[in-house]
Symmetry: C2
Subunit: 245 residues, 2 copies
């Protein structure tokens, strides 16, 4: 058995069900009517809850999209860890992380493609780099930490610290490609993922060389300085508390 | 003096002026009214030409955007080659290629940010990877060939063949970041470009190592197989002819 994903801990089944119902309904309406044309009122009505109740769970439509990301991250966490259980080869582990993501996200392909366009703006709250996305982001970076830790590769503390974030960047690049892929079951992205996974695994192995190390270090520094927006300390405390609830 | 950019050769001043006038007018209206709300009729009217004349130069609004890309590529070609004249350091040459691009594109920041969102779809004709974008793409890849060739770096035939395309990918990544940058004169992207240029130059130097070579080769193969759509052979012949006009 794998660890339970942090976000699903400690909520009552009833409130968890209502939350899931509102989210499901919203995703269906976004897909049917488009994101902009769907109101919170319509979502509440379709889900059979009061508007106040809907707002209690999701303060805005953007929070619903965030809820969607969080749920994808959680389902992916479980599917990926299960699939790579007992697999030692890093390239295969990276590839399984990508293919399980595509499996989990497949039902939402149309909506994801649409919402990822807005998410390409790093200053959008829906960007994977935003302060608001910290929960889903830390989950998928932690997942990549396990991708690396569970492999038969030997590496040092610095690589263990930096590399999960770089693996996550590779993951995001493939997800962006997937969002625009119109082949059945995203076959083209699956072929791409097979290729990039092998190349990325090779790059991780090379990153141990002394001459390569400055590049890895600088890539990490630039991602932190120019892409990721860390939430304010108070929000971090809140998030940590929510995880322990 | 630098070579004249291929696309500006051989057109009559009069038709070149009309074409430029229509393009300028379109860009202004796109910015004022939004791309979707601007019709070809309105563009023709504002430019003081007949609708038929406007369509003679640009078969659709998408062709106008393509015309915008082509013009940016041409202005950038001149500005970049002039700026890096006599500069031997590869990192500096890469950086100058980026900063001159931002200087040239600055007046169109708002429109560019908007149109690059659609361009993120590799299957869009407005994507830098599309068959339709071949002219602007080949121009900027050729520019990067000169960035490399004019540096004081020694390299072999394979690097000379592959690397301009990889440098162009770096260029596209910074341009995407720029499109979303809201700091005055894109200061944040300029700081980023300073950092990435140095790192990229370091990576180019390392790419000569035998152990790194397969990564470079594979990156090139994946870009060609999964990103770039080559135009059909007939279109290539047309483009070559247009250049020689």
């Amino acid at each position: 058995m794998h660890d339970v994903a942090p976000q699903s801990q400690g909520k009552t089944p009833k409130s968890e069900q209502t939350r899931a119902l509102i989210l499901e309904t919203a995703l269906r309406l976004f897909e049917e009517r488009g994101f902009d044309k769907t109101t919170m009122r319509a979502i509440a009505q379709e889900a059979g809850v009061s508007v106040g109740n809907a707002y209690y769970y999701f303060a805005s439509k953007e929070h619903l999209v965030q809820g969607f990301y969080d749920r994808l991250a959680e389902e992916h966490w479980n599917a990926a860890l299960e699939a790579m259980d007992g697999v030692g080869d890093l390239g295969k582990r990276v590839r399984l992380t990508l293919t399980t993501w595509m499996d989990v996200a497949e039902p939402y392909h149309a909506f994801a493609a649409q919402s990822f366009k807005n998410a390409a703006d790093p200053s959008s709250p829906l960007s994977p780099f935003s302060a608001e996305s910290v929960a889903a982001r830390e989950m998928v970076i932690e997942l990549h930490r396990r991708v690396l830790a569970g492999s038969n590769l030997r590496y040092d503390a610095e690589i263990a610290r930096i590399m999960p974030e770089l693996l996550w960047m590779h993951h995001l690049a493939v997800v962006l490609y997937w969002a625009h892929d119109r082949t059945p079951r995203a076959e083209r992205t699956r072929r791409l993922a097979e290729r990039t996974s092998a190349t990325v695994a090779r790059a991780v192995k090379l990153s141990r060389f002394k001459v390569i190390r400055p590049l890895v270090r600088e890539a990490d520094a630039m991602i932190r300085e120019f892409l990721i927006t860390e939430p304010a300390p108070a929000d971090v405390a809140d998030a940590a508390e929510a995880k322990q609830d």
